[in-house]
């Protein structure tokens, strides 16, 4: 079988806080193949943004050293030193669109220059050549090239989000990580950004990790879905499996909590709250809120294999073979 584009093995990350050690990412495994879009779905505080920052090595100071392995086409990029990671991986092979990064554009630099900057810094391209490439990616994300010489304040929110996307695309990376790329945007703008992403995926063959809390939006791009809860991935499924027949009790309850336009069924909420990551339970982390809990749930279920690529972290699915 071909080597996956990215494979993450048993990744963990802690933060040191005044209250103690917070386990934000607790043993996460997944893989992404070439041309595939993986949605990492989860509610706030589940560790999904920490996961993105760990992959890009842009962690804040109070983060501990991540554990586990991250293989990019078979090469362990966690083992690279900082300088080699910067020269070889960050932005050249994996780019990141951070949450609200459209508001982080430099206000006094023309957007064309900002988009071209990674090429000049990382590839040493001339200004002219980098600008030509910037014009190409502007086309790709659907902004007129007239806008290359504009400043961020002259652009609307949707336009700035496209600029940020252009910046991620300019080096033609294999993988783009998108952290809540549309959550601050209006419905129509959101839909047109999702259209841009779909087109890029189809035409450029870029792989995506889309990190979001929004179930409906996630279905716009997903080939596969990894659902996170309290620092762990509780279910990994194909989009068809996940949106039609979610397996984990949390996944099912989350799907039932989504209000739908074209359905009469009233959405229901999930009682209770996620556990504190300062002192997470040793067993299943969803057990306290789970209507189907039973005695086994006191112990950590680990991920059970269901079919070829489906994984469910729940004792109810113990029929499959256990991974770890």
């Amino acid at each position: 079988m071909a080597v996956p584009l990215l494979s993450v093995e048993n990744l963990s990350l802690n933060y040191h806080t005044r209250q103690g050690l917070v386990q934000a990412v607790a043993g996460v495994d997944f893989e992404i193949r070439h041309r595939e879009a993986l949605v990492v779905l989860g509610e706030s505080g589940c560790g999904k943004s920490s996961l993105a920052k760990t992959l890009m090595r842009t962690l804040p100071r109070n983060a501990g050293r991540p554990e586990g392995r991250v293989l990019l086409e078979g090469e362990d990029i966690m083992a690279l030193d900082e300088e080699r990671f910067r020269r070889q991986v960050r932005w050249l092979r994996i780019a990141l669109v951070m949450q609200a990064s459209m508001n982080a554009l430099n206000p006094v630099v023309r957007v064309g220059e900002q988009v071209a900057e990674p090429l000049r810094v990382l590839r040493g391209w001339s200004r002219v050549r980098a600008q030509e490439r910037a014009a190409e990616v502007f086309d790709l994300v659907g902004i007129s090239t007239d806008f290359l010489t504009r400043y961020p304040f002259e652009l609307s929110g949707g336009m700035r989000q496209r600029v940020v996307l252009a910046m991620a695309l300019v080096t033609d990376p294999q993988l783009i990580i998108l952290d809540e790329p549309t959550s601050a945007l209006d419905v129509l703008t959101q839909a047109s950004i999702m259209n841009v992403l779909k087109r890029i995926k189809r035409e450029q063959g870029t792989s995506f990790i889309l990190i979001t809390h929004d179930v409906a939006t996630s279905s716009e791009l997903a080939d596969r879905v990894a659902l996170m809860y309290a620092g762990q991935i509780v279910e990994t499924s194909s989009a068809a499996e996940f949106f039609r027949e979610p397996a984990h009790p949390y996944a099912r309850m989350l799907m039932d909590s989504v209000p739908r336009l074209h359905q009469e069924a009233r959405p229901t909420h999930i009682p209770g709250q996620p556990p504190s990551l300062l002192d997470p339970p040793s067993g299943c982390r969803f057990a306290d809120r789970c209507p189907q809990r039973f005695d086994l749930c006191e112990r950590d279920p680990g991920a059970f294999r269901k079919g070829d690529r489906r994984r469910v972290r729940c004792w109810l699915h113990a029929g499959g073979s256990q991974l770890s």
Binding site: E43, G158, L221, S257, R260, L261, H262
Partner: protein, 335 residues
């Protein structure tokens, strides 16, 4: 206040609140003196809300929905037009009248943490409006406990001494709702009450608001950008675009038979979770919402409208048409 209640009993069919050609404009100046014109945030809005009705104002950012809410709350002076509350014109209320009016209208803010003073505990937060309106100490305590029960923060003793930062987002929003309810208003205005909350908590808060609205027979005006949340929590919808109401109907009628091209575009852009969504591009009208400084002439949606009739839509200002019974749409296609 007692006078208003007895008047209400006499005339139950009288609308609770009406907006008549309401306009709220904000003057825009550069460097403090150069007049650049007015931002016409609310520009000719008419509606009337019945007692005990739950309505949703839906629109994208910059359509004027929050300015409308703040005008209804008396926080902005209308530039033109009037708000009629229980038959009384808001423009004619004096200082005292305004204070009584504010007791009759509750406000649930968007960002619960920002809306709660960080240095007051829950008891003080809830006591403050009662003190302002001269409620005595023992009655205050009774009402605070009752309202905490009502928003399901029970037992009340667990929460009375908590400060906002000690509560979860959902609990903070319950405190905001409790504060909005404590003076027993007859109109509750909720401006994006769940947009800052997680998916699984959203439904819980919307359910709570809806139940309170039903039990107290309140009028609830619920302001949101998210059409998918309204089906179960509102009776009627007003769709706003560029400072105006473009379409009005009961919830199911509007969602199942949208008439205005803008509403149709909004609905087409929204996804219900489905794996097939990833396979196709969505129809999205080009362009962006117009500047409210210089809105386009004629129908304000015409520059983006896929059904735009040149020479008609860019000239004539559409009035409300009734393409289906009880269903109003401000689009010249219905003429």
């Amino acid at each position: 206040m007692s006078h208003a209640t007895s008047a209400a009993r006499v005339d139950a069919d009288q609308p609770l609140v009406e907006a008549r050609d309401l306009r709220t404009w904000f003057e825009l100046r550069q460097w403090g003196f150069m007049r650049l014109g007015s931002v016409k945030a609310v520009d000719g809005v008419n509606f009337s809300l019945r007692r005990g009705e739950s309505v949703a104002f839906v629109g994208e950012s910059g359509c004027g929905k929050s300015s409308l809410a703040r005008t209804l709350l008396g926080l902005h002076q209308p530039t033109e037009g009037d708000v009629i509350f229980e038959g009384q014109s808001m423009a004619r209320l004096g200082r005292r009248g305004m204070r009584d009016y504010r007791a009759r209208v509750g406000y649930v803010q968007q960002d619960p943490f920002g809306a709660l003073p960080p240095f007051l505990d829950v008891r003080r937060i809830l006591a403050e409006p009662l003190k302002i309106h001269g409620v005595g100490r023992s009655e205050r305590e009774r009402r605070i406990r009752a309202v905490l029960e009502e928003v399901r923060l029970s037992p009340a003793d667990d929460y009375l001494r908590k400060f906002p930062h000690m509560l979860s987002g959902g609990q903070q929003q319950r405190v905001v709702i409790a504060r909005a309810l404590i003076l027993e208003p007859s109109l509750l205005i909720a401006d994006e009450p769940v947009s800052m909350l997680d998916a699984s908590v959203r439904v819980e808060i919307l359910d709570l608001l809806y139940r309170i609205q039903q039990r107290r027979e309140l009028t609830l005006a619920f302001i949101t950008h998210d059409l998918s949340t309204v089906r179960h929590f509102a009776d009627r919808i007003f769709v706003m675009y560029a400072g105006r109401i473009v379409e009005t109907a009961t919830v199911n009628e509007l969602l199942d038979h949208p008439q205005h091209p803008y509403t149709q575009a909004l609905l087409a852009a929204l996804a219900d979770p489905d794996p097939d969504n990833a396979l196709e591009l969505r129809e999205v009208p080009g362009g962006e919402a117009p500047s409210l400084l210089n809105p386009p002439p004629g129908c304000r949606f015409h520059p983006r409208c896929p059904k735009h009739m040149p020479g008609v839509c860019d000239v004539e200002d559409p009035e409300n048409f009734e393409p289906r019974p009880g269903h109003l749409s401000a689009c010249l296609l219905h003429r």
